[in-house]
């Protein structure tokens, strides 16, 4: 039953991921990326990782993609732009990079299929649910949680200092 949901979701993810790469229009690519992230969120739910699924939708498909859109608009790329034409010359480099990645992936597959993963910690069935994540986050990881707020504060300061036109 789980596989019955997993394969369509995974298939959709792959299709949309290809859509990101092959779409001529950057906005289209971004839309495909959102669709792919929704698919990923579904897979996370299947893995009982509800919290990550929520994060995937709220942060990535929501907030980060808005940022992507702004970057695309800031740069204002167009499909038929000269920038894109220039890249076609690097066919050799593209092929070589592809081969390299394929090699790495092959090696990773080989290692993972050898199946000697007895050491990862065995986790409870509820590991990854919002309740479970919260329990750990607010007790064991209370310090990282508070430090994260400092990180966010610093990022805010940085954004304002660099982007606000009249700071001083």
């Amino acid at each position: 039953m789980e596989l019955l949901i997993f394969y369509p979701l995974a298939g959709l993810c792959v299709i949309f991921a290809l859509g990101v790469v092959f779409n001529k229009n950057p906005i289209g690519s971004a839309m495909s990326l959102i669709a792919m992230m929704l698919g990923l969120a579904g897979i996370f739910v299947l893995q009982q990782a509800h919290f990550i699924a929520i994060l995937q939708i709220i942060i990535y498909a929501g907030a980060i993609m808005v940022l992507f859109m702004f970057v695309i608009m800031l740069l204002n790329l167009k499909g038929d732009d000269a920038v894109w034409k220039k890249r076609e010359k690097n066919t050799l480099l593209t092929v070589l990079t592809g081969l390299l990645i394929a090699g790495v992936l092959y090696k990773v597959l080989e290692i993972t299929s050898a199946g000697e993963f007895d050491s990862p910690a065995h986790v409870l069935e509820t590991f990854g649910t919002v309740r479970e994540v919260g329990t750990i986050l607010f007790t064991e990881f209370v310090l990282p949680f508070e430090v994260a707020s400092i990180l966010l504060l610093v990022a805010m300061i940085g954004a304002v200092v660099l982007a606000k036109s009249k700071v001083d």
Binding site: I111, E116, F117, S119, P120, A121, V123, T135, F138, T139, E140, F141, V142, L143, P144, V147, A148, I150, L151, L153, V154, A155, I157, G158, V160, V161, L162, V167, D168
Partner: protein, 477 residues
């Protein structure tokens, strides 16, 4: 539903972080409500740094673990907290006149330095990979912004953009490595990871080794070791000079402390796998750093390449992975702080508004006009090269003996050879100062605060060189 028990909170261990955060926020808020005069901010920042340094001594029976083993107060972290407070205070002092001269009126400058110090203290005291990640990110984000704080200067923008893009990329590597190690060991706590490695169950796990490699790439970028050093010269050159000095000392020391904890303290049993990688990184950093520095004509780029070479020396302390290694790391970074702030202090003094005089040939004949400045610069440069009896010599000697104790003879020979090479370009600047005619009129305003920093640095460099005993005793404890 039964209530979840509250975890134990040890605020005393956390004291320096708390003090710095509170003062950082104070500076930030004060800046919103005062006018153009920023001297109040300087005062608050320096008070905060002083209090943070004092509060780091609050714990007696070291080491103390707190927050479920995520945070440690031990010898390394206390000593490094002191280095951070000193270097941040020097950075603020050296900025006062520089910012006035160059028209940097952004009040956030000071709060960013304080928050950056928070990140550094966290980095040096974390024994949890999540904390290390957060620390690195706080430090990095502050540095991206500080590097680009001169927003009307294209060079400063370039520095910030380059640093940000490459830094974000490197953070990805770091995080991926952490994730893989978490996946194999089931914990982000360094103590638990160390225990699992000691037991031997995860030693040859391929994903563990992959994680180690990715961590080395991430850390290697953050400390600017070859081949991940490409950003350093441009960023060092483009950032405002006090920021350059700041990022060459504190953040680098903090990252090296975390580097030491993750590798030398957590996984000494699998050191053959990471040791060889660090060995290569170290040798490459020394050679490319020193040879690259020879070709530079800009003093900031020269010091950038020289700092790459120094990272090469410092990595030796991690490779040695013994207690002498950690002690030598502490001593080296303290000595390095004084040398770097001294050298950059003089670079700031030589410059003037609109013309920073960053070319080495601008130093021609400095000895005739300002003999004291030229002499100080000579001392700092020779100390960076490692000439006895200056601080740089003792620091290097100490690191090399840590490596020799573990039998890394070839590595030490290469390092000594590199120290010899480095004298070539350090002496080149000295030759310009003493033996060439001035190419243009020096128009130096001897601003008191910068001179004060140079004086402190001079005292530190000489004192650590001639009487290293007490500090070494402190570092070894």
């Amino acid at each position: 539903m039964e209530p979840i028990p509250a975890p134990s909170i040890d605020l005393v261990s956390l004291a320096p972080v708390l003090v710095l955060t509170v003062f950082g926020i104070m500076v930030l808020v004060t800046d919103l409500f005062i006018g153009k005069n920023k001297s109040a901010l300087v005062f608050i920042s320096l008070t905060g740094l002083l209090m943070a340094a004092i509060s780091s001594l609050a714990k007696y029976d070291l080491p103390v673990y707190s927050f479920n083993g995520a945070y440690i107060v031990d010898h390394l972290s206390v000593f490094f907290t002191f280095i951070f407070c000193i270097s941040s205070a020097l950075a603020i002092l050296v900025s006062i006149d520089f910012n006035q001269r160059e028209g940097i009126k952004v009040g956030e400058y000071y709060s960013l330095i304080l928050f950056c110090t928070v990140g550094m203290v966290l980095l040096a005291s974390s024994t949890d990979m999540i904390m290390i990640f957060l620390g690195i990110e706080i430090v990095s984000i502050c540095l991206y912004v500080l590097a680009g704080i001169r927003r009307n200067d294209p060079k400063s923008n370039e520095a910030a953009l380059k640093y940000f893009l490459l830094g974000a990329f490197a953070t990805g590597f770091l995080l991926y490595g952490m994730a893989l190690i978490y996946g194999t060991t089931g914990s982000t706590k360094l103590t638990i990871i160390a225990e699992m490695i000691r037991e031997g169950s995860v030693r040859s796990e391929p994903l563990m080794l992959m994680g180690v490699v990715l961590l080395i790439i991430g850390f290697g970028f953050k400390v600017a070791s070859v081949p991940f050093h490409m950003w350093a010269p441009d960023v060092y050159q483009g950032a405002p000079t006090p920021v350059t000095a700041f990022m060459a000392v504190g953040p680098k020391a903090a990252t090296l402390a975390a580097f030491f904890r993750v590798f030398a303290e957590t996984m000494p049993e699998i050191s053959p796998s990471w040791g060889i990688l660090l060995y290569i990184l170290s040798v490459l950093s020394m050679f490319i750093g020193n040879l690259g520095a020879i070709m530079q004509t800009n003093i900031k780029r020269l010091l950038a390449f020289s700092s790459v070479a120094h990272v090469g020396y410092l990595l030796i302390a991690i490779i040695a992975k013994n207690s002498l290694g950690s002690a030598s790391l502490m001593f080296y970074m303290l000595a390095y702080a004084f040398m770097i702030f001294g050298a950059f202090g003089i670079v700031i003094l030589i410059g003037r508004k609109g013309d920073e005089n960053l070319e080495i040939e601008n130093y021609s004949g400095l000895a005739y006009k300002h003999p004291i400045l030229a002499l100080s610069m000579t001392i700092f440069l020779l100390s960076l090269g490692g000439l006895p009896p200056l601080a740089g010599f003792v620091a290097k000697f100490y690191i090399f003996s840590a490596a020799l104790k573990e039998g890394f003879v070839v590595l030490v020979i290469l390092a000594v050879l590199n120290s010899a090479i480095s004298f070539y370009y350090y002496l080149k600047v000295v030759v310009y100062m003493y033996m060439k005619e001035p190419i243009k009129e020096f128009n130096i305003t001897l601003s008191p605060m910068t001179l004060f920093v140079v004086a402190i640095a001079l005292f530190g460099t000489l004192h650590l060189g001639i009487f290293p005993g007490p500090i070494i005793a402190l570092a070894q404890y």
